[in-house]
């Protein structure tokens, strides 16, 4: 009956999975691993990671004719699929459109009220006359009738000051001064983190490159990180999957000697993985590459339940399979529940990516546990002759346990061991160095990183930091920008900041624009006098007088976003009611922040670090709460503090030893190490539970140790290989869990030694 039910369940799962397969969406979006806890730092980190600054891809063209190559690339990409924007510098048409847009605004829009005194007006008119006589006179001549005081030139100067130094705009193509490198900026309709779309775009770029062999093409941008990250994760998954599968097969074959049992053992983890993929896709709408890699490794954990059951089944073949499951089942279920509690803590970390991994793990564990309990026993062989190897291992473990438990440790000796252990833990904890400067998904020595940095270096230095201004409406934002820019100007005078983009000059707030218009109207008679005094003919400025007579057209943020200036201004307004004012030359953050209360000064790298600091603290707290929950669960199960402590001991000792080992290796503990330690605790508690539950006799204790030993080996096979990953995040996970599992095994042996003759029959 159970066989038929399990076949039906597996068949249904296979059908659903096959149907869902075309709809599965995978991502490597780095923002999934940025905190989304809603606090200000987390929001700023997400904003910076998702702003236009990260969306735009930069293509550098060198070779025989960089500018011509850039023009050809732009022309070709304009008709390519998935291209949302492609440009280089500003063409004559772009500049013409910008000029027309600015010309349509009130001529008073950009000129500060302080410029309407008689002295200042005469100074500006004298300057206009000089300019009309000079080389730039032709352009000045075009704007002067409508803007005699030259407010438009102030804003154009402000815009020009924001352009990266060392670059030249050659008829719409931005190049380095020597003309050897040209740049094209583009944005795809698809997310830069959509690796499939970006791979398709790379294909377009590669074909263009083949058709233009004279052009040397390099790129910078988030997309190449996404592709490299996915390639890396796929490589890791394939390598880990293949090698760990071979390793696990070999171990099962040697220990259990049955192809049938090997095949059965894969049912729970395959079932668990399939359910986890389907569940994660259903809940999150997509699955992160890291989750898949992590899930692959979870196969080893899913095997633990089967292994524990197999060890007891194989070493007591005379006991019916269902009976053996009923005997070890409660321990397996308890182990699974404690592991789930651990992963719930992981989900509370505040990282979307980790939350997804937690959900994936919980589903995988529940499903594989259920499959182990309900499906596996029904398919176990009725007649089974265990291989000699397992008998040998079992006998070896039995001898080891006898040796370990023969010695009786006195109270003093045990107290000494406890003190030494506690001292070691204290020493390790004291020397822990945390690092929140995580670089989870990026192998920063990869060619994509080197190329990215080389291209960006040619473009000149980026802004050191940003003043982030937020408000409840566009109008309020413009007002807040004015306040922030005023404060920044004072900070610049006080040498707290080298320079900043004068956003308030480009977007004066509504009240300021209206006030400027009123002041200009009032100053009109004085301006006529000043014009006459500087030999101008006042009536030649009819467009200006007409503009003063009309209600002023107020420039709004919405106008700016829809204007030809949008390509310039877009990066400064990354989200509704948010402005980023780029800053350079920050001397010290704290005094600058104090001097600019209207904005939050953000140094992107530091903001990410601060955000991850918060996540790490929350994860530690959640883990401790998880530990308390596990303690409560175990206490409810055992009703004995001593048994609970024994069950928890392997996990806690392994955790402490792992931290000690990492500290000794000089590793700064990141959020991923903390998360991995959570996994270590979960696995260690499983071992502890098996140790407490199934040691009624020394022989059973040996069988339990065999199961713990095989579980450790298979887990290490999975996670150990993760440790070889080029992804710093996966490597941290692998190394930490490998150390933790190893120490858990050793802790079990230590417990056995300390228990002595009391090991059995507790």
């Amino acid at each position: 009956m159970r066989r038929a039910a399990s076949v039906v369940v597996l068949a249904l799962t296979a059908i659903v999975f096959a149907l869902a397969l075309p709809h599965l969406r995978f991502t490597t979006q780095i923002t999934e691993f940025l905190p989304d806890t809603g606090d200000r730092t987390a929001r700023l980190a997400a904003l910076l990671a998702d702003s236009e600054l990260s969306k735009v891809m930069i293509v550098e063209l060198a070779g025989a004719h960089p500018s011509a190559s850039a023009r050809a690339l732009i022309a070709d990409l304009k008709t390519a699929p998935d291209i949302a924007m492609v440009r280089s510098g500003f063409t004559d048409d772009d500049l013409d459109a910008m000029r027309k847009f600015i010309d349509a605004l009130a001529p008073t829009t950009f000129l500060p009220e302080s410029e309407y005194t008689p002295a200042r007006m005469r100074a500006r008119l004298a300057s206009l006359r000089d300019h009309l006589a000079g080389p730039e006179g032709v352009l000045m001549r075009q704007t002067a009738p409508r803007d005699p005081l030259g407010g438009i030139w102030d804003v154009l100067d402000a815009l020009r000051s924001t352009r990266a130094g060392g670059l030249v705009d050659t008829d719409g193509v931005l190049t380095t001064e020597d003309g050897l490198h040209a740049f094209v900026f583009l944005e795809t309709k698809s997310s830069p983190f959509d690796s499939n779309a970006q791979r398709a775009f790379r294909g377009v770029l590669d074909r263009w490159r083949e058709a233009h062999p004279d052009a040397v093409v390099r790129t910078a941008g988030a997309a190449q990180y996404a592709i490299a990250s996915e390639d890396q994760i796929k490589g890791d998954v394939n390598r880990i999957g293949i090698i760990s599968t071979i390793g696990i097969l070999a171990i099962f074959l040697v220990l259990f000697g049955s192809v049938r049992m090997i095949l059965i053992s894969f049912v729970p983890m395959t079932f668990g993985s399939a359910m986890a993929v389907l569940g994660t896709q259903a809940i999150f709408g997509q699955i992160h590459g890291i989750t898949i890699a992590f899930g692959t490794s979870l196969l080893g954990v899913g095997l633990d339940y089967v292994e524990h059951y197999y060890a007891h089944f194989v070493l007591t073949p005379e006991v019916p399979a269902q009976t053996t499951m009923r005997h070890v089942g409660p321990s397996l279920a308890l182990g699974a529940v404690t592991t789930i509690i651990g992963f719930i803590g992981l989900g509370a970390s505040g990282l979307g990516g980790l939350r997804q991994m937690a959900v994936f793990a919980v589903i995988a564990i529940v499903a594989s546990m259920a499959a182990t309990y309900f499906m596996v026993p029904a398919w176990m062989p009725a007649r089974y002759k265990p291989p000699r190897t397992l008998g040998l291992v079992n006998r070896g473990v039995l001898v080891l346990l006898r040796g370990l438990t023969r010695h009786h440790w006195g109270r003093i000796a045990r107290a000494a061991i406890v003190v030494i252990t506690a001292g070691s833990i204290a020493l390790a904890v004291r020397n822990i160095a945390f690092s929140d400067n995580v670089n989870m998904l990026v192998d920063d020595s990869g060619p994509h990183v080197v190329e990215d940095r080389a291209v960006r270096a040619l473009l000149g230095p980026d802004a050191d930091a940003f003043a982030v201004v937020t408000a409840s409406s566009d109008d309020a934002l413009a007002t807040a920008i004015a306040s922030a820019c005023g404060e920044l100007e004072r900070a610049r005078t006080g040498q707290l900041v080298g320079s900043f983009v004068p956003l308030a000059s480009l977007l004066p707030d509504r009240a300021t624009q209206l006030r400027r218009h009123d002041v200009a109207v009032a100053a009109a008679p004085a301006l006529r006098e000043a014009l006459a005094a500087e030999d101008f003919v006042a009536d030649q400025f009819a467009p200006y007088w007409s503009a003063l007579a009309a209600p002023p057209k107020v420039l709004t943020l919405a106008d700016l976003r829809a204007s030809p200036l949008a390509p310039v201004a877009g990066a400064w307004f990354p989200a509704p009611q948010v402005a980023l004012i780029p800053l350079t030359g920050i001397r010290a953050l704290a005094p600058l922040q104090a001097a600019v209360p209207s904005a939050t000064i953000v140094i992107p790298s530091q903001t990410i670090v601060e955000a991850f600091h918060g996540v790490r603290v929350r994860t530690v707290v959640a883990s401790l709460l998880g530990l308390v929950a596990i303690f409560a669960l175990l206490f409810a199960r055992y009703r004995s503090a001593k048994k609970v402590m024994i069950a928890l001991a392997p996990a806690l000792l392994a955790c402490a030893a792992t931290v000690g080992a990492l500290v000794a290796m000089g590793t700064g503990l990141t959020i991923l190490h903390v998360m991995s330690l959570l996994l270590v605790v979960s696995l260690g508690v499983d071992f502890g539970i098996f140790f407490v539950d199934t040691t009624d006799s020394l022989e059973e204790a040996a069988r339990t140790m065999v199961s713990i030993f095989t579980a450790s080996i298979t887990t290490i096979l999975s996670f150990g290989l993760l440790g070889l990953s080029h992804s710093p995040g996966l490597a941290a996970l692998g190394i930490t869990v490998t150390l933790g599992v190893t120490f858990s095994l050793l802790a079990c042996l230590l417990l056995a030694a300390l228990a002595g003759s009391k090991l059995v029959g507790r």
Partner: protein, 214 residues
């Protein structure tokens, strides 16, 4: 931007002093095509130095703006206009850059910033090297008179964007000597420049050129 600078600086360089031209010189249908080549051949110079006086009639101003100074041309370095009145200013035009020094203020503008500016940058080196083909890509060129006496070369922009800035440029000369230029802007403003005391080629020393382009 900088159109007037190029026109004023570079066209001045191609003009040499002489008697007044006939009033009806620029009338009728101009000669075009290869008929202008002999005149271009006369303009081919290695170096030149000349005094200039200039009047700008700008509608915005009640009085014309007047300036004077010396202009230098070197076929390798480009053109330098050293203005001495009403105030000192040095403007140099190379193949790639326009540089303006006025008091302590220095402004550099890449000439290849736009196709219009590039067109102007090509006009005057091309004119002084007698390269009609290069000029013909951006301007309609017409010749009034003949290179045996008084002549006038007119340059009318072909592109709409250029037309928005300049209506026409006329260089007037007698035999081998250009003597005057007249720039009519789209706004109707007119700039007239006369050249005197022209020195050509070897009469202009290395020291002169070094001083002008420093």
């Amino acid at each position: 931007m900088i159109v007037r600078a190029i026109l004023a600086v570079a066209l001045c360089a191609s003009v040499a002093a002489a008697d007044a031209p006939p009033a009806n010189l620029v009338t009728g249908t101009p000669k075009t095509g290869t008929a202008v080549d002999p005149t271009f051949a006369h303009l081919k110079l290695d170096r030149m130095r000349a005094k200039f006086t200039e009047q700008k009639h700008i509608a915005l101003l009640a009085k014309p703006l007047r300036s004077a100074g010396t202009i230098y041309f070197d076929h390798v370095q480009g053109i330098a206009r050293i203005q001495t009145s009403p105030k000192a200013q040095q403007v140099t035009v190379t193949k790639t850059t326009l540089k303006i020094k006025s008091g302590t203020r220095v402004e550099e503008v890449p000439l290849d910033k736009s196709k219009d500016l590039r067109a102007f940058a090509l006009v005057f080196p091309s004119l002084l090297s007698g390269d009609r083909a290069a000029l013909a890509s951006s301007f309609e060129i017409g010749l009034y008179g003949a290179d045996t006496g008084w002549w006038a070369l007119s340059f009318t922009p072909k592109s709409e964007s250029l037309k928005k800035l300049v209506t026409s440029v006329v260089v007037i000369g007698q035999k081998a000597d250009p003597v005057m230029l007249k720039i009519t802007e789209a706004s109707g403003d007119v700039t007239e420049t006369e050249l005197t005391e022209v020195a050509r080629d070897k009469a202009v020393t290395d020291a002169d050129i070094a001083q002008a382009f420093r």
